[in-house]
Assembly symmetry: C2
Homo-oligomer: 344 residues x 2
């Protein structure tokens, strides 16, 4: 209450926006017993389930750019980050919460155009709907900088969450889908916005570019795949590829106290992407998981291929944590993916 | 991944800060089965319990000021907001999550001084410890604007959460503690920082001022009181006084479809505060609740007094939602408390 506290209710105020979100969001669906409008939302898991929680903060200029990303994409991407964390644990989504900090210009209409915030919610709720994830609450504040903090809650049977810390030497390393697509699309988005300022968003993206940019603008979290890996007890450990394969594999090795060997030729590279983008580009939101060689791993789940790309080995002091096998022999693979908050 | 993604691990990077938070936070305590370090935290409620969730976004210049508030107070206040929401539902705290967006200057040491972020966590974790609330995760991002989004999870027996929407005509209206203290202290803080720029925080507050400013800098959420009201089935409805009595009572009336009469002479006013501050000042984090006249309400819970301040009446179209009874008769009471996001 640092700003002047005495203001009457007004159109465009918090109450008004909460009313609009209530309309956007179907409350009291699924595990949500009480949604937006009270001091807390109330959620119910099934007996014997634990609750998985993840929070992801997205900031203009850092995780998205108002001038580059259509508002629908910002909404989609902020939710996809959290859903992907649930997928990596093998959790089924229970509810989403979104806290927005927005400058006033993004909450008001411009002529006939919908306000930015409405288009943000359209993108957010469209993906939420795909994964049966009700929006159960959130917070709103005026902010000179646009930002969204998204919280996802999921449910997973007790003791059955897939962890980063349980990979064992001998396990085979797998990845879902293909890698590098988001990094390749981001590069193209950068080029497009640099060469064609007239295309600068939030205008509509020309149709011919939508499919090219899709992997960056509208990544698909692997909820169905994570759930199947957990329910069939296929994975011995899992993490999502949000920061880049080299970095996320290093996280998994670190937490499990193991090392890994990666086969460069086996890494599934997205159309148009390079091996470098597949190894180090982030935000593909595929799942990286390990499985005992004794476990039968299906070639695909719900249409998304599962590809063996290497193996987990014992960690030896003095040896690199990750070795990349190429046609020219083995080279150490340093984590060169995305790390937030490092000095530039 | 809009910023340049290819950066090696580095001191001061996310991993480094997460390691420090792991030290700050006791993970795997209480209901937290898996804390910081995996894709999600894993929480466990008791059989038959539901999960209460609240998120609160605090932004520099809006909810706190880096130049006014000691970092410990910012940490305390951001957590107090969420704990107070749990208190209002009668939930016991399960875990807290904090997403921070911070400029680099707040995460690095200045000579012998601790970094701002360490002092933030000291304030946060000190209050968390008081209320047995483990810090189970969060997110970090570099941001030109300092901000904290805090998520609190609590547990409450199925169907027993205290709601805003269940007050009935005839119920008596109560408030815990006293009101207006935070608004009065904020006014003094404003005067101090205006008249004595040499006192500007984040330097230490002179001891003589600590108790004066306490209600604003270190408000006490009413967790024990909320739990008792819920467990003894005393309250028929509840809300926390975060935005000001006039505004929060209006929320409760709105959600319950009722009206209220308030006795001005009964409102417990904090030492040094005015009736106006008690009626409209926010951030006292007391509980406002209703109880059937047939229910025995104790005079105090855990040393905090419970004061009857009015009653719930039937809503009549054309009549004001809240009437304030004063020595000069009844006057309508408009909600004049804090509403975020209104046009100035």
């Amino acid at each position: 209450m640092v700003a002047k506290p005495k203001k009457p209710k007004s159109p465009g105020g918090e109450l008004d926006i909460l009313r609009r979100i209530r309309i956007f969001a179907g409350t009291r669906s699924g595990g949500v017993r009480l949604g937006i409008g009270d001091d807390c939302a109330i959620l119910r898991a099934k007996p014997g389930e634990e609750i998985a929680v993840t929070t992801d903060l997205s900031i203009d200029g850092r995780h998205f750019r108002l001038g580059w990303h259509p508002p629908e994409s910002v909404g989609h991407r902020t939710l996809a980050r959290g859903l992907s964390d649930l997928a990596a644990m093998g959790a089924r989504p229970l509810a989403a919460f979104v806290s927005l900090g927005l400058p006033p210009s993004l909450t008001s209409s411009l002529g006939r155009q919908k306000p930015w915030v409405d288009r943000f919610y359209n993108g957010f709720l469209s993906l939420a709907n795909t994964h049966k994830t009700p929006l159960a609450g959130g917070d709103l504040a005026e902010s000179p900088l646009a930002l969204a903090d998204v919280v996802l809650l999921g449910a997973v049977p007790q003791g059955r969450a897939m962890l980063r810390s349980t990979a064992r030497p001998g396990d085979v390393l797998y990845v879902t889908g293909s890698l590098g697509g988001a990094a390749s699309a981001l590069l193209q988005l950068t080029a497009i916005t640099a060469n064609h300022p007239e295309l600068a968003f939030p205008r509509r993206i020309p149709t011919r570019l939508v499919s090219v940019l899709q992997p960056h603008l509208y990544p698909e979290p692997r909820i169905a795949q994570g759930l199947r890996l957990q329910r069939r007890r296929i994975a011995s450990a899992a993490i999502d590829v949000s920061d880049g394969l080299s970095t996320d594999l290093a996280h998994l090795c670190e937490e499990s106290g193991v090392a890994a060997e990666l086969d460069a030729a086996s890494v599934p590279i997205a159309p148009g992407a390079s091996l470098d983008q597949a190894l180090h580009g982030g935000e593909d939101y595929e799942l990286l998981f390990t499985a005992s060689p004794a476990v039968r791993v299906p070639p695909a789940i719900a249409g998304v291929p599962l590809t063996p790309i290497g193996r987990i080995v014992r960690r030896r002091s003095g040896s690199p944590q990750i070795l990349l096998a190429t046609s020219k022999g083995q080279v150490p693979l340093e984590p060169r993916g995305w790390e937030h908050f490092s000095p530039q």
